[in-house]
């Protein structure tokens, strides 16, 4: 993960030519993805035609439902509710998990003592945490978000503990000699070293969190994608279920592309070396 970025830019006159071939090189994977997805839709359409059933709608039908839900505003309301919970749970899990992880990674005895707890929490099924949270804290937003965060925190702890173990003591000593303040130490010494681990925890985190959020919504909330899927499950409306699922997957992919990847590129810009 410390490999230098291979997308290096040759300086000077070569820039024009290389930027054109660069665009082509950037487009090829996008095209491949588009063709691949189109192929999947085609296959799905053919299969839906071969076995026509209300429980197996084709892509056209799902698209119609999607447009209808978007037109009456339901889609955005429920997507927004779910997205808000994902974001809140993500922030809570990352902050708490990172703090615990770094503490365990830098204190051997604490690590030895709390390791069994960690293994225990890693193995508690998400459903159990959610049900208990609703029983203990009531059917409210805090319990919902807390339950999702608690499911994710052990994973973050494990990743960030690795990150803390890999910290280079030379930087901490340099910071001590030059009397860096606490905030400078965190911002300029600690976080940049933990960045690859934060990125890894984030990636696996968002994927896990949004799936758990749907379950939380299904069990105890009255809005969100999970709630809608439960509703349409009772109505046996598979087209609506698929419409909501695909819409949310699309949103998560867009977030990954427009938010996560640019942030990561920015955070690792110093690894780039001129050719």
């Amino acid at each position: 993960m410390t490999a230098p970025d291979t997308g290096d830019r040759p300086p000077g006159a070569a820039a024009d030519i290389s930027s054109q071939s660069g665009v082509a090189a950037a487009l090829t994977p996008v095209l491949t993805v588009a063709v691949s997805l189109l192929g999947l839709c085609l296959l799905w359409g053919l299969a839906a035609n071969a076995w026509p059933s209300r429980a197996f709608p084709g892509p056209g039908r799902v698209w119609q439902v999607l447009l209808a839900e978007a037109a009456n505003g339901d889609l955005f309301y429920h997507l927004g509710a779910t997205l808000g919970r994902v974001a809140a749970a993500y922030v809570v899990a990352m902050v708490i998990g990172s703090v615990i992880g770094v503490l365990l990674g830098s204190h051997r005895s604490a690590d030895r003592f709390f390791s069994p707890w960690l293994v225990l929490f890693l193995n508690i099924p998400a459903l159990v945490v959610i049900v208990l949270a609703y029983i203990w804290f009531g059917l409210n937003e805090a319990a919902a978000i807390g339950a999702v965060a608690v499911n994710k925190i052990p994973n973050v702890v494990v990743t960030m503990r690795e990150g803390a173990r890999a910290l280079d003591p030379n930087y901490a000593e340099m910071a001590a000699i030059y009397r860096f303040g606490l905030l400078d130490r965190i911002r300029h010494v600690l976080l940049p070293q933990l960045q690859p681990y934060l990125a890894a925890a984030s990636r696996s985190g968002i994927a896990l969190i949004w799936k758990i959020v749907l379950v939380v919504e299904l069990l105890g909330r009255s809005n969100g994608v999970g709630f809608q899927i439960y509703l349409y499950f009772q109505l046996f409306d598979v087209a609506a279920i698929l419409a909501y699922t695909l819409a949310f997957v699309a949103v998560m992919l867009v977030i990954e592309l427009l938010l996560v990847q640019p942030i990561e590129r920015h955070a690792t810009r110093w690894r780039r070396r001129p050719a």
């Binding site: 930087y171 000593e173 000699i177 030059y178 860096f180 110093w270 690894r271």
Partner: protein, 246 residues
């Protein structure tokens, strides 16, 4: 040229420093090590490899507190310490200039560093990341960081090791230039005798491990008179005083 700040000398009096290896074997690194560096003086700590020079610096820098004995750092002025190690230890995710400024106290963060960067030949490289520097340039950046803080005492641990001789020689001259502009009490570790004779006012010669002081060698001659002829005379008298060393 007024020596700035420090009115108290650097006084070292370490009774003992012992390492315990992972297998439980104890290694005495320092034993009755005591010396003094006067204010505004550039001293070199010269000794065989593995005798405990780095260990001494780490104790003085406050990085190793597990020893018996005491030491006193020069006071006055900024009351700060600065260090240049064999590895430059720049933050790879910050530019050269950010690396230097981060080491400054908050009140001096915005200070004008043009002169320092110019002297060290880093003027065009302030916005580069350390990965884009050669080792020699990275060492210069580490020197810039150390001098920018205007420390009361400066520690250097073989700052010119593993450079080709020409680059090392240029860096020594640069070090002398910035240091002469503001003579700070300095203690430099080296096992290069020529380097020590060229740079220092006084050489503290250490014995094999456990390190203690074998003797002092004062070089009273101003640095601008230390030409090749004088250097070979100095070398000869050093070898007369310390036969078998270096």
């Amino acid at each position: 040229m007024q020596p700035v700040g420090a009115v108290v000398p650097l006084r070292v009096d370490i009774a003992e420093k012992t390492f315990r290896s992972a297998q439980g074997v104890s290694i005495a690194a320092l034993q009755d090590l005591s010396f003094e560096v006067r204010q505004g003086e550039f001293a070199c700590l010269l000794g065989p490899s593995g005798c405990g020079k780095t260990t001494t610096l780490r104790i003085l820098l406050g990085l190793d507190k597990d020893f018996s004995g005491s030491f006193q750092l020069p006071e006055g002025g900024s009351n700060r310490i600065a260090a240049v190690f064999q590895e430059p230890i720049l933050l790879p995710w910050r530019t050269v200039e950010q690396n230097v400024r981060l080491a400054l106290p908050k009140s001096l963060r915005a200070k004008n560093l043009d002169g320092l960067f110019d002297t060290l030949g880093l003027a065009g490289m302030r916005s580069l990341y350390p990965a884009e520097l050669s080792l020699g340039l990275a060492r210069r950046a580490a020197l810039a960081r150390a001098f920018a803080t205007e420390p009361a005492v400066l520690f250097l641990d073989e700052p010119f090791a593993s450079l080709d001789e020409r680059t090392a020689e240029r860096l020594r001259h640069l070090l002398l230039t910035v240091w002469s502009a503001r003579p700070t009490t300095a203690l430099m570790v080296t096992h290069n005798l020529r380097e020590a004779l060229m740079l220092s006012d006084r050489i503290i010669v250490l014995a094999q491990r456990p390190a203690h002081v074998l003797g002092m060698f004062d070089v009273r001659l101003p640095r601008q008179y230390r030409n090749p002829q004088v250097m070979s005379d100095l070398l000869r008298s050093f070898h007369q005083k310390f036969p078998g060393v270096a």
